[in-house]
């Protein structure tokens, strides 16, 4: 598989601070992969995302995006490959209506109008917001706003999309809508990095990377990471319900399977147990 992000021995601290926010980070992400980046508040997740986008410069170590080393000379070219969506849906709008907002980035690149119209339509259709194209962004729901922000990113045709807690301020329905769009974008071949505290969002990723105090603690499949059970709370993730139930059952003296089970797996196991007894 083609490597799209290669991070080698990366260390970062702000000039005025002594302590390092990231220490000896090594991580390779492949083209088309969906990686969930988790960690408690202050673990360095957002800092890492900003380093990948060249918004911050590493203290030591290197970052390669699509085979090119990130440097002053390459940053503008590299940034075109990356789109970012942030946490607060209200802080990301510039246009007077949805369509203009999505077009903003393209205008900056001086894309011809006819081509711009095609790309804006395509991007808005992709997030199911085309029918809202003439609406005022401020009057949309949180989930709709984040989908418009995603459309703004998609219209730029990046290869990598970074979502920095993009679902954390949304209501359950808005969150579900945005996660569904992320799934579709992943299937369409975009490389996705989603920074999240949401267990459902993390469970859909191919790989979960756990950051703890500026270091990578674990990088594995969601199943492997979720097997940490109650210790997940310490790394910024909710404990999956199946794990909570296992703890409650074993407190009552019941023998439960050791490995991680999904909710379906847990239901199957309980069904078998009751038919055996």
């Amino acid at each position: 598989m083609e490597k799209i992000i290669e991070i080698a021995d990366l260390t970062f601290h702000y000039p005025q601070q002594d302590s390092e926010l990231l220490r000896q980070v090594n991580l390779t992400i492949h083209k088309g992969e969906w990686v969930a980046l988790i960690g408690h508040n202050g673990s360095g997740k957002s800092t890492l995302a900003r380093l990948i986008d060249g918004l911050l410069v590493p203290t030591t170590g290197t970052l390669k995006i699509g085979g090119t080393i990130l440097s002053d000379a390459s940053v503008w070219q590299i940034r075109k490959k990356i789109g970012m969506v942030f946490q607060n849906p209200d802080n990301q709008f510039v246009g007077a209506n949805v369509e203009e907002d999505v077009a903003f980035g393209l205008e900056n690149l001086a894309i011809p109008r006819a081509q711009m119209q095609v790309r804006v339509k395509e991007a808005l259709q992709r997030v199911n917001m085309w029918e809202f194209r003439e609406h005022e962004p401020a009057r949309l729901s949180g989930g709709q706003k984040q989908r418009v922000a995603l459309a703004g990113v998609i219209a730029m045709r990046p290869e990598i999309i970074i979502l920095d807690e993009a679902t954390s301020m949304l209501d359950p329905e808005g969150r579900k809508d945005v996660i569904k769009i992320i799934q579709e974008l992943s299937q369409a071949g975009f490389t996705i990095i989603s920074i999240t505290h949401d267990i459902n969002e993390a469970s859909l990723a191919q790989r979960v990377v756990v950051l703890n105090d500026g270091q990578i603690l674990q990088a594995a499949t969601p199943q492997t990471v979720f097997a940490r059970g109650e210790k997940l709370l310490a790394v910024g993730l909710d404990v999956p319900f199946s794990e909570k139930l296992k703890v409650a059952l074993s407190r009552q003296g019941l023998h439960v399977p050791a490995g991680y089970l999904t909710e379906e797996g847990m239901i199957d196991w309980l069904c078998q147990s009751i038919s055996k007894t």
């Binding site: 301020m169 329905e173 239901i267």
Partner: protein, 287 residues
């Protein structure tokens, strides 16, 4: 302080082309000392209802009784100032309202505004900071240097410093990480027990409703859809699904398990402990 709504209607921008009715004929009671959860979709009227609780909005028709004070469409704003002290509202993302130079000054602002002396207000601020688990060394810092979870606790302490009897919380844990969410919810629980506050919680987190509330109000499109105990409200998963309301995780799991297997739940469990209890009993009986 008990709160009663009687036939309350509220219309935004009445008699203009933008007129929009947000509350329809709401009658309900929030018992004194209760932990009441208000649930419903975005746009169900939760925020509008909440702003009636301390007179930020007055009903277009109908009346609200809060302890002995009656609010009608013609109540003068001046008559509401004592109510603002008795009912403290923590709005969504309250950290956006921090503004003072230090954490302590920010928390002390409310009581000073209501006439406490500098010394009284500062002393109160220290107490409240302690109550929400803010470490002493943060009190002289700028609130803007703190983490998101700490900033939120400063904002909550600022409301508590007005010593309200009713604490209204509009999605107090939105945007926090799971550990921060759990900490904040435990603080409210402790406040209710130690300070005997009436707590009104607006939330989408059904697990918090199941774990903490003893009274639930369900709104839909500006109307009261149901009210009762969490056990009553969550007893009928199909009814909740019809109204696009989520279930607590344990209830959802029990409902899925019931459909697939020989397990029967006489009472739908609300938490993993209740679920585990019933499962162990049923497994034991057969064994």
């Amino acid at each position: 302080m008990s709160i009663h709504f009687k036939n309350v209607n509220y219309i935004y921008q009445q008699a203009t082309p933008f007129e929009q009715q947000a509350l329809f004929d709401i009658s309900l009671t929030i018992p004194s000392g209760s932990y009441t959860a208000i649930i419903g979709h975005t746009g169900s009227g939760k925020s509008t209802l909440l702003q009636h609780l301390n007179g930020l909005l007055k009903p277009t028709s109908g009346q609200i009784t809060i302890e002995k004070q009656i609010i009608t469409p013609t109540t003068k704003n001046k008559a509401l100032s004592s109510l603002r002290k008795q009912v403290g509202i923590v709005f969504q993302f309250p950290e956006a309202q921090l503004f003072e130079e230090t954490v302590l000054k920010d928390i002390a602002f409310g009581p000073k505004n209501f006439g406490s002396s500098e010394q009284e207000a500062t002393q109160l601020a220290r107490q409240m900071a302690h109550l929400v688990n803010l470490p002493e060394e943060l009190l002289e810092k700028s609130p803007f240097e703190l983490s998101g979870g700490q900033m939120r606790r400063v904002a909550i302490a600022g409301i508590l410093a007005m010593e309200p009897q009713v604490l209204v919380l509009d999605e107090p844990t939105a945007g926090l990480d799971p550990r921060g969410r759990a900490e904040i919810m435990e603080i409210f629980q402790a406040l209710r027990i130690k300070q005997h506050l009436t707590i009104i919680l607006v939330t989408h987190q059904m697990d918090d409703v199941a774990r903490y509330a003893n009274h639930v109000i369900v709104l839909e499109k500006g109307r009261l859809l149901a009210s009762g105990t969490p056990t009553e409200i969550f007893s009928d998963p199909d009814w909740l699904r019809t109204h696009h309301l989520a279930l607590p995780q344990a209830t959802r799991f029990a409902s899925a398990l019931q459909k697939k297997s020989g397990f029967e739940f006489s009472k739908m469990p609300l938490t993993e402990e209740e679920l585990a209890n019933q499962l162990v009993q049923q497994l034991g009986k057969r064994g």
